[in-house]
């Protein structure tokens, strides 16, 4: 019997992808168009941004070259940490938790080939986002500097080994922890890594103080800013080697030293990791199959809180069940951590934004920012809702028969899902909006309007997510797949439309009110204008309430119709 080379082990994924393309499901085309369009717009923006900055820097000759060189190094440095973290998370799945491991580990596949196939998959899964983000940026730089074709070939030859090094480090970290920690604690590792990553991102951004770039009046600050990124260890990092290799290529040369450093390090790390896997992978895999310890085994606080709530026994049990399942599934709530990191950065940016340096515009800009903030908070809420609320019905999975055969109406079931989700989403988005507006120092009237709008939007978006989640459930899919399904895309489109409509309906009367308050353009509030303001606010509230109510009603009807 012949031995197949390691790419053979990647065939199921290739075949599965081909089958998915061949047998399109309902909504696949729509999803492709929506996500494809977003991707094209983002890529075009990145390309144009990189192209514009590169052409601007070209005007400064040596200083421009210096900044481009540092910029490239900084770009790779940013992704270095991301790739290492991504390597930890992805290798935990590909080497230890993935379902198909039971099939592969029971097969007579040589440990070396198994490692090669899994590591190739880990590198691919961990780095595709970075590659997709980097491609338009690097092409933009190449076009901006009229780089020769060899630059683009060098780009590929640089990004590949650059991705391998941090992913190998991340995988080694996972291998170590899975072997050291008690069984199934590897999942807890995810939580720790997530928290660590969030904190690291915040600290990194705090450390480099990007707001200093806004002080264009002092050019040396810009060089200081980039100089901050340099340290004695920087030349030892693959990010530096990648930046140097590409900087040489963009000028028509080739930096053999740094390219060789990248490739030899990537090769050495792969060989060392392969040897470590040959020695410790099976022991780690064996441990990862042991039953996990129950987290929140008693969790009396939840039972006490639930018993204090004015709920029927049925709704109370549904609430307790949903909360406990969510808290015990680390893979679910750990996904909140990157979002939390982004929110912290978002608030931090508002704190350091020095709008008072634009004196005659600061009041106006702050109030415009209040509405941008409202839109951002709405979008964050929609993201949370599509990921955590929309799959709530689908999450019942194959256990949904328990609900359907018990004496619970679908009305009670879905409304229980709604109230369970509403409270945390409301607290989270209200806190985000109020904190951001406080840090910005917007007008008190706008603070009130924003808080009230978010309140109404929360009911609407959580209701919409519950309703559409019940209308388009995916019982055999995990939460991420459910969120990316036809219904999930429909929800996101409807949610974005609702957020825009709401902002327009509250933004227009608010601006009328503020103009009258500040006396700008001699604007006064007549009784007719008061009526229009009240009507517009009322319309916003009505749109939100109608969305909430109709979506929930539609969801309940869809669940009832499952019996037919």
């Amino acid at each position: 019997m012949s031995t197949q080379p390691f790419p053979f082990l990647l065939l199921p994924h290739a075949w599965a992808s081909r089958n998915r393309v061949r047998r399109r499901e309902k909504g696949d085309l729509l999803r492709g168009i929506v996500f494809g369009s977003i991707g094209i717009v983002v890529s075009a923006a990145l390309f144009y941004g990189a192209y514009w900055v590169t052409t601007q820097l070209a005007a400064y000759e040596e200083f421009g070259d210096y900044l481009l060189r540092l910029g490239l190094s900084w770009l790779f440095l940013t992704f270095l940490a991301f790739l290492a973290f991504s390597g930890v998370v992805t290798s935990l799945s590909t080497f230890f938790l993935s379902d198909d491991l039971r099939l592969l580990m029971a097969s007579p596949v040589a440990a070396r080939r198994f490692f090669q196939a899994r590591f190739a998959r880990t590198v691919g899964s961990a780095s595709w986002m970075v590659v997709i983000f980097m491609a338009p940026v690097l092409i933009g730089i190449g076009v901006g500097r009229c780089a020769p074709y060899a630059f683009y070939a060098t780009t590929i030859a640089t990004v590949v080994p650059f991705s391998i090094v941090p992913v190998a480090l991340g995988s080694a970290c996972t291998l170590f922890v899975v072997n050291v920690f008690p069984a199934k604690r590897a999942r807890d590792l995810l939580m720790l890594m997530g928290l660590g990553f969030a904190v690291a991102v915040v600290l990194l951004l705090r450390f480099i103080q990007p707001e200093r770039l806004l002080r264009v009046e002092s050019l040396p600050d810009v060089t200081d800013f980039f100089a901050t990124l340099q340290s004695p260890i920087t030349p030892m990092l693959p990010s530096f080697w990648a930046g140097e290799t590409l900087f040489a290529a963009v000028q028509g040369g080739f930096d053999w030293l740094h390219a060789a450093a990248l490739w030899t390090t990537a090769g050495a790390f792969t060989v060392l990791l392969g040897a470590a896997h040959a020695r410790w992978h099976f022991a780690g895999y064996s441990r990862s199959q042991e039953a996990p310890k129950t987290r929140f085994a008693r969790f009396r606080t939840l039972d006490l809180v639930a018993s204090a709530l004015p709920l029927s026994p049925v709704r109370r049990q549904l609430l307790v069940k949903d909360v406990k399942i969510f808290l015990r599934d680390v893979s679910q709530w750990v996904q909140l951590l990157p979002l939390l990191a982004l929110v912290l950065l978002y608030l931090y940016n508002f704190r350091v934004l020095d709008l008072d340096r634009i004196p005659y515009m600061s009041g106006f800009v702050k109030n415009v920012y209040a509405f941008i903030n409202l839109g951002m908070a709405g979008f964050v809420m929609a993201t949370v809702a599509v990921r955590f609320v929309f799959p709530a019905v689908s999450a019942e999975g194959s256990a949904f028969w328990i609900i359907r055969t018990s004496p619970i109406s679908m009305h009670d079931f879905l409304w229980s899902k709604f109230w369970t989700a509403l409270f945390p989403v409301l607290v989270f988005t209200e806190a985000l909006t109020i904190a951001a507006n406080q840090l910005l120092g917007v007008d008190p009237f706008l603070k009130l309007v924003a808080a009230a709008t978010i309140f109404a939007l929360t009911f609407a978006l959580v209701g919409l997510a519950c309703g559409l989640g019940a209308r388009y459930p995916r019982f055999n899919a995990d939460a991420t797949q459910a969120a990316g399904s036809y219904g999930g895309v429909m929800f996101m489109i409807a949610a974005v439309a609702l957020i825009i409509v709401s902002i327009v309906l509250v933004g227009w009367p608010s601006s009328m009110y503020l103009m009258a308050q500040t006396g700008r353009f001699s604007y006064r509030l007549t009784p007719e204008r008061y009526v229009m303001i009240v009507a517009s606010f009322s319309a916003a509230a009505a749109v939100c309430m109608a969305t909430w109510w109709l979506a929930m009603k539609s969801g309940v009807r869809a669940l009832d119709e499952m019996r037919k």
Partner: protein, 250 residues
Amino acid sequence: MIAVQDLVKEYGRFRAVDGISLDVRPGEIHGFLGPNGAGKTTTMRMIAGLLKPTSGRILVDNNDLERDPEAAKRALGFIPDRPFIYDKLTAGEFLTFHAGLYGFGNGNVASRVHEMLDLFELRQWEDQLIESFSHGMKQRLVMSSAFLHRPQAVAVDEPMVGLDPRGARLIKDVFRRMSERGVAILMSTHTLEVAQEMCHRVSIIQKGRIIAHGTVDEVKQMAGSSTDEHLTSVFLKLTGGGALQEIDEI
């Protein structure tokens, strides 16, 4: 063909498998019986190479699973209690991939895949995605993959779960035919009727230890039962299910 010697598996302080030894001969169907949580699935997983034993030795076709895992696994077909199959592959693609895992050359794969699909009555579903299969069809597909590479030994965990009478009959016939051809089959099961009907010898495991071992008649004698007595009551006597038996008799 399958030899297990002083096998131990510990999870922290808990000893799930406590020094068991087994020997399944060529052509033998060996029943591996025991109550829930006795250590059956843990043992089967160690034999399949999915779990690392704390101590002990496993030989498949004289290949030590620890020292030469590839050779041992090549000689073994494993049918898990909860099979994983790639949902987005067709039955034909899954079996082709499986054949490749066991080193089948491209030349004779298609005919062998068709042979197995015919044997397990899945030929008409060859080009259908596995996600559209019923539980019983998935079970039969996994079994066909286990026999695809002509193993000398098969370890099967709960083979009859979820099968309709026709499917169960089919599996029994296949196991008998494979046994007649010299394949050693170690079968973990709760279905004592199946064990009584099919197994040449049985081992009963409780709390990680083998408490009875031999032919069905020998096990009955060990329990002090007559040879006419059903295996269920013998099993309950041996595993401490006397109270249940009394309920059964009421």
